[in-house]
């Protein structure tokens, strides 16, 4: 009996009128956990009842504590008929189960009804007494912390990054049970909400167990998704990266941070961690000895990739749900043997992280991806997870083998997704093949690590670009040059990755959002034929998406993509591909060549003229873009390095394959050997379209930038003004006999118009950058295309941006963390001086750039002066307590980023993972589909904020809307929507003090800091 859950129902407010006669409500509350239910008294005739209940106590197992949500139902008492439900509140009590998170949940929660939406609020207090014998604690997974953030959370230090954890649970979807025919929509929705809540809890607990077996204490980059498979079931799956985290609480841990919280904020991120990446992966491979393995007999789930025979020696493990418990025993024995070359031995050396401690990432090979088409109605045992486990295992093997082919032993920025249409399901996985620092795999002392890092950083900020594979034995045709930065190593001419821009990367100019959009019609077909048709289309789509990305990148005058995410969506009669990434110019890579247009038609005067006209337009656009994004790389004397007109070959960093039901594997050679990527032949209309679409992409209006990564390269002076938003658009395609071109145009217009609308709506925030722009495409019906965008707009300080851009370029080469413009204001001596004397400045600097707050550089510097330089900071740290922020009560910020500009995250309160269903049978009355969804999304935000506030938090970071499934039936006046969101609840402290200082002296800060630095050395 390891826990006692205590709940107190305090009061309600703004309840709906349930009794028309009196215009009042006789409300009472049912509190349910597991199978136990308590009730409050009926509070007669009030819309603002004061129950002030006793403490309801539930004595429960920790397993239940983790799985079950607390369910609070508000009802209207009715003497003569059945009591009417007003609405419910589900509270995930998981945050109360680990010591460092919240200790109490207390606050006003919106009372939610799946038919009526929010109906008033209820004030609830929840506490958990864990009977804390630590042994027990250990054996359940109660203590494991979960973070959605895909980097090491700000107030923690990674002791060990263990690696990949995954889990998957399956259940029957209540919506497809026989009982659904006789129960009300409300009952059905609530059954579904409850089930998903339960499954999420179970999933998290199971993943927690795996983490404990790996000797970790946390999961970072936790991504949970659900697949609505329909008849075959409801799948909830999750992946994450197991870590051992240390809370940075002692002054030592906080060392680089000074007593000013804002400072700490900037510095806390992982980079400051002295030995953050002791990647002692040995203990982290518990998977080997796992006995569980799935049966690979099903025809459509066979091993698909031929190249990974070596890998498949490793038994598939860790996949079966519930299998985890078996591994405890032999684990320790293995642990000793595996301390070396641990990464190689790991079954899946995958990391869901997208940002890393400095030095962790040695080389980046490129994007690896794998897709597979499956038929859901062929699952033999739909209620069991084996089949899906096998599917994913297969895909992961492919990913692993692709990474190997790129000479990499690990995959970072790894993610998985599905797209389902009827019985067809496309499983996708992608990541970035990478070589991780082997030295980080051993435990090093702080100093050792540090030294090593400094040394590592000597080829400043270009190391990760150097090719990891063998030059003579390249996995694909590529054009290599010597690194433009260090001139020692070879680099490719373009680099595609799924990760965030490394903080030490040297970038010239600013970045921008680059999207490739594509539609392909497909015949309606059934089952096998359908799957085959899709499988056949996929390689072409990938190829075209890739070509578009490449062309657009060239058009921007850039040479690398970060945060690449390619989404392929399947519908009844079409496939959609949407790729988003942030383009940048990496100083290490050669200057990209232009785009040349060629026509095959033999000399025809007007035609030639047309071509040259197009060519001119393209050249103009490139020139304009270079100016717009401030890409003016230093002239490289040795022109030999990269010929301005590129070698006529397409180099692909994208290695991908499809495995489909027919069990074929397609290794797609994107280069096709012959075609020049940058020579566009415009003989057929398709190509003309391509050229046109290239030129029709309008740049954002002046004052706007956009990217889909955490931060925008080249902008660091964020202010604290942020606005997170979700925008949804659905278009109906007019005719059924559409052509591919018309479809493409529609889709392209949809995305472009959506972006234009965003720019217009957010114009008051100029100068501003849309960060973490996340597009999701779905095809809810035959002729409907739905695009959902979530992003955050952050205002930055224009003046400072202008000031800093200039020195940036010249100095960047000399510095480890050059892309940080703020730092460039520091005299260089300071940096070089302080480096040896103080171990942490580089890290700190990274952080500044990483968490990038704004306007504050000045402030920060000013403060630093007071506190006497970085070295002094540590000593001074305790002198004054961080001034507690003037948090405006009740405001909860939400952001998809892992940080809050202008503030410091002081505490992580736990993961927020919420699932809601909303349904209406009076669509017109609620303002049509737009009114319905608008209200619902606003309600979802409200419920997320309320839960965060009740945990004592004031922000959600790494917020993501993972699903927004919208279905309508206007004829019946009905609509239904499912939304799944998650994020990390945090407490942040704003540095108002610092802002004041910065406002006062925006520029005159270099001087003082400089002296400060000298004092230190």
């Amino acid at each position: 009996m390891p826990g006692k859950l205590k709940v107190k129902i305090v009061a309600g407010r703004h309840l709906p009128v349930m009794d028309r006669a009196s215009d009042l409500t006789d409300a009472f509350v049912e509190v349910k956990f597991g199978n136990t239910t308590f009730k409050t008294d009926v509070y007669l005739k009030s819309l603002n009842p004061q129950w002030n209940s006793e403490w309801f106590k539930f004595e429960v197992d920790d397993e239940d504590l983790q799985d079950e949500p607390l369910q609070i139902t508000v009802l209207d008492h009715d003497t003569y008929s059945a009591n009417d439900a007003i609405g419910k509140v589900y509270i995930d009590i998981d945050p109360l189960l680990y010591s460092e998170a919240a200790t109490v949940i207390s606050g006003w929660f919106p009372i939610y009804d799946t038919i009526h939406g929010i109906r008033g609020e209820i004030n609830v207090v929840v506490k958990v007494d864990l009977f804390n014998d630590l042994n027990r604690f250990r054996q359940s997974s109660c203590g494991v912390k979960f973070f959605c953030t895909t980097s090491i959370p700000k107030c923690y230090r990674a002791v060990i990054i263990h690696g990949f954890v995954e889990e998957l649970v399956v259940n029957e979807d209540p919506e497809y049970q026989w009982i659904d025919r006789i129960r009300t929509p409300r009952a059905s929705n609530e059954a579904r909400q409850r089930l998903i809540s339960l499954m999420s809890g179970e999933l998290q607990r199971k993943i927690g167990l795996k983490v404990l077996e790996m000797r970790g204490n946390a999961v970072v980059g936790y991504l949970q998704c659900f697949d609505l498979e329909g008849e075959s079931g409801l799948v909830v799956r999750a992946i994450g990266t197991a870590c051992t985290l240390d809370k940075l609480s002692s002054p030592a841990a906080f060392l680089p941070a000074c007593n000013s919280p804002s400072k700490e904020m900037k510095e806390i991120p992982f980079n400051e961690d002295p030995n953050p990446n002791t990647h002692s992966s040995g203990p982290s491979t518990p998977l080997k000895n796992q006995t569980y393995s799935f049966s690979p007999s099903k025809s459509y789930s066979r091993q698909s990739s031929s190249s990974d025979t070596d890998l498949s020696l490793t038994p598939k493990t860790g996949m079966g749900s519930g299998s985890a418990g078996k591994e405890g025993g032999p684990f320790k024995a293995l642990l000793r043997q595996q301390t070396q070359s641990a990464l190689e031995q790991r079954e899946f050396p995958f990391f869901t992280l997208t940002a890393f401690p400095p030095g962790f990432l040695v080389h980046v090979g490129g994007v690896v991806s794998a897709r597979s088409v499956k038929l859901l109605d062929r699952i033999h045992n739909p209620d069991e997870p084996e089949t899906r486990d096998a599917w994913w295992a297969e895909i992961r093997q492919e990913i692993k083998s692709h990474a190997k082919a790129l000479g990499c032993h690990a995959v970072v920025g790894y993610s998985e997704s599905t797209s389902i249409c009827e019985e067809v399901c496309i499983l996708s996985a992608s990541g970035t093949a990478a070589v991780l620092n082997p030295r980080f795999l051993q435990d090093g002392t702080m100093e050792g690590c540090l030294e090593q890092r400094l040394e590592e950083n000597l080829p400043a900020g270009c190391g990760f670009c150097h090719i990891p594979y063998d030059e003579l034995n390249m996995p694909f045709p590529a054009h290599l040059t010597y690194c433009c930065n260090c001139r020692k190593q070879k680099v490719p001419d373009v680099l595609f990755t799924t990760i965030d821009l490394p903080t030490d990367a040297i970038v010239i100019g600013k970045g921008c959002l680059i999207q490739a959009r594509l539609c392909r019609l497909k015949k309606k077909a059934q089952a096998e034929a359908n799957a085959t048709a899709i499988s056949n289309l996929l390689p072409f789509m990938e190829y075209e998406v890739h070509t578009q990305l490449m062309n657009k990148l060239k058009l921007k005058g850039m040479n690398a993509l970060f945060g690449l995410r390619i989404q392929i969506t399947v519908g009844e009669n079409m496939l959609m591909g949407l790729a988003s990434a942030t383009g940048v110019y990496l100083a290490a890579l050669p200057t990209p060549g232009g785009i040349q247009i060629a026509g095959k038609t033999p000399n025809d005067g007007s035609y030639e003229q047309h071509i040259s006209h197009m060519q001119k337009k393209i050249n103009d656009t490139i020139a304009k873009n270079k100016e717009l994004y401030e890409i003016n790389p230093p002239e490289i004397a040795e022109e030999i390095i990269g010929s301005p007109i590129p070698e006529p070959r397409q180099r692909s960093r994208l290695l991908r394959s499809q495995s489909e039901s027919s069990d074929e594997v397609m290794e797609l050679d994107l280069s096709h050997g012959k075609k020049d990527a940058f020579v566009l032949e415009i003989d057929d209309t398709d190509a003309m379209e391509d050229v046109h679409s290239l030129l029709t992409d309008v740049p954002p209006p002046s004052g706007f930038y956009s990217c889909n990564t955490e931060i925008m390269p080249g902008i660091n002076n964020w202010t604290s003004e942020i606005q997170m938003f979700t925008s949804v658009r659905v278009i109906r395609l007019s005719s059924l006999n559409l052509t591919n071109q018309a479809l493409n145009k529609n889709f392209n217009d949809l995305c472009e118009n959506l972006l234009k609308s965003l720019y217009f709506k957010l114009r008051s925030m100029i100068p501003c950058c849309l960060c973490h722009v996340n597009f999701t495409v779905s095809l809810p019906e035959d002729e409907l295309i739905q695009v959902t965008v979530t992003a955050v707009a952050i205002t930055f300080d224009k003046n400072q941006a202008l000031q800093t851009t200039k020195p940036h370029v010249e100095k960047s080469l000399q510095r480890a963390s050059t892309d940080n413009e703020e730092l460039l204001q520091f005299p260089l001596e300071l940096c070089s001086d302080s480096l040896p004397s103080h171990p942490f400045p580089p890290a700190k600097e990274h952080l500044e750039s990483a968490s990038s707050n704004s306007g504050i550089p000045a402030a920060q510097r000013a403060v630093t002066v007071e506190k006497a330089s970085p070295m002094g900071e540590g000593n001074f740290r305790n002198r004054s307590a961080p001034p507690c922020a003037n948090s405006t009560v009740g405001v909860v910020k939400m952001t998809p980023l892992s940080f809050i500009p202008g503030a410091k995250i002081t505490k992580y309160l736990g993961i927020i993972n919420m699932f809601f269903i909303r349904e209406t049978t009076s669509l017109r009355e609620e303002g049509g589909v737009s009114g319905f969804l608008h209200a619902f999304i606003a309600e979802v935000f409200a419920m997320v904020r309320a839960h965060v506030a009740a945990l004592g938090g004031n922000a959600v970071v790494s917020y993501i809307m993972k699903q927004c499934v919208f279905m309508e039936n206007p004829n019946k006046n009905q609509a239904q929507c499912l939304i799944n969101v998650s994020g990390d609840a945090v407490i942040f402290v704003r540095e108002s003090e610092l802002e004041v200082v910065s406002a006062q002296q925006p520029t005159a800060n270099c001087q003082p800091l400089c002296t400060g630095g000298e004092v230190t050395t």
């Binding site: 938003f725 925008s727 737009s930």
Partner: protein, 364 residues
């Protein structure tokens, strides 16, 4: 390709002040888009009409959802659905409850009933304010009226507390509620020259001095709100006003009053002779107004009477405002020197307020 659904939801609710104004003014989405286009916003921002349309729709939807909350502003503060910074909340409320001068002049003093609501069509045509906007303003008046009508305590405070309006706007609403409750006639042709501000000024004076609340506001016990009703005139006081009749009924008293005033003002007024000639008429007018206030009907005609009996005669003789002031001051003060008059306090309570009102009403 048609847009089926198009929404934008921010964690902080975006409020566009210009669009809010258009919405409050009752324009349809298409009219609002047209007006925005005309404002030149497309050129400034490089946006397209489609973008503007989508943006306007979004804002209208948001306002529509907010409207329910704006009906009870404290709800807007406590609700959780829309995260709006306090300054914006205040702006939303203030603008929502703001009204058009032209509109308020039409309904001021009218019963806020269904009947009046039916006349909104005509008011809309007459004033050029959209019917939608007229309805909103009318409903605002009515809502505020309903909430505070039975309440004890200061009218302005009550309004401020329940509707979170700025001090100025709360005062205006107090005037509207006060006028609606007492049904003062303000629509007569001879009253057309008066602005809402003139009436609001008078209302404030009357609330301060002539209501039940006026008694409760004794300086010694400002918190006592036991009988503090600001909405209704103090019936007892109105009854007592009959006693003032003696001032014009008693011929000696009237002559004495006149001579006192004339002596004091001789040589000081540019219209002395006119004043001297008219004194008895004016005095009769003012005192009779007081004596009649026991009847509801006459209370309603208070402003008509004041204008007829005092403002118009003076205006026809071209009294300068300063002379009116001197006269009224002397006229009020001299009463204290009348030996036979036994209600100086009553007189001051009546005349103090009336003097203020008359001076405000005396203009072209």
């Amino acid at each position: 390709m048609t847009s089926e659904l198009d929404i934008f939801v921010g964690n902080t609710t975006l409020i566009d002040e210009d669009v809010y104004r258009l919405w409050l003014d009752g324009y349809s989405v298409s009219d609002a888009v047209a007006l925005r286009v005309r404002s030149g916003i497309l050129e400034q921002t490089g946006a397209t009409a489609a973008v503007l349309q989508s943006d306007t729709m979004d804002h209208y939807r948001t306002f529509h959802m907010l409207e329910r909350l704006l009906h009870a502003p404290p709800k807007l503060l406590h609700q959780l659905i829309f995260q709006i910074p306090p300054s914006r909340q205040a702006l939303l409320i203030e603008r929502y409850y703001a009204f058009d001068e032209a509109f308020v002049r039409e309904v001021l003093g009218k019963k806020l009933s269904k009947g009046t609501k039916k006349d909104l069509d005509d008011i809309s045509t007459k004033t050029g304010i959209t019917l939608k906007s007229c309805r909103r303003q009318f409903d605002n008046f009515k809502r505020v009226f309903k909430v505070v009508e039975e309440m004890r305590g200061s009218l302005v405070d009550n309004i401020q507390q329940h509707f979170l309006l700025s001090d100025r706007l709360a005062r205006d609403y107090a005037a509207i509620v006060f006028f609606a409750n007492n049904r003062f006639e303000t629509g007569k042709k001879k009253l057309q020259y008066l602005s809402f501000g003139d009436f609001a000024f008078c209302a404030e004076l009357m609330i301060q001095n002539w209501t039940l609340g006026a008694i409760g506001e004794a300086p010694t016990d400002p918190d006592s709100q036991v009988d503090d009703m600001d909405v209704d005139l103090d019936k007892e006081f109105l009854q007592d006003l009959k006693e003032l009749k003696v001032l014009v009924a008693d011929k000696d008293l009237l002559d004495l009053h006149k001579s006192l005033v004339c002596t004091a003002l001789r040589g000081k007024l540019s219209v002395f002779s006119e004043m001297e000639a008219n004194f008895k008429n004016l005095s009769r007018g003012l005192v009779n107004v007081a004596a009649k206030l026991t009847h509801n009907k006459d209370v309603r005609d208070l402003f008509v009477d004041l204008v007829e009996k005092f403002v118009e005669p003076c205006r026809s003789d071209h009294w300068p405002l300063n002379d009116v002031r001197l006269f009224l001051n002397q006229y009020s003060a001299s009463v204290h020197s009348l030996d036979g008059f036994r209600h100086p306090t009553l007189w001051d309570r009546y005349m103090g307020t009336l003097r203020g009102c008359l001076l405000r009403l005396y203009h072209d």
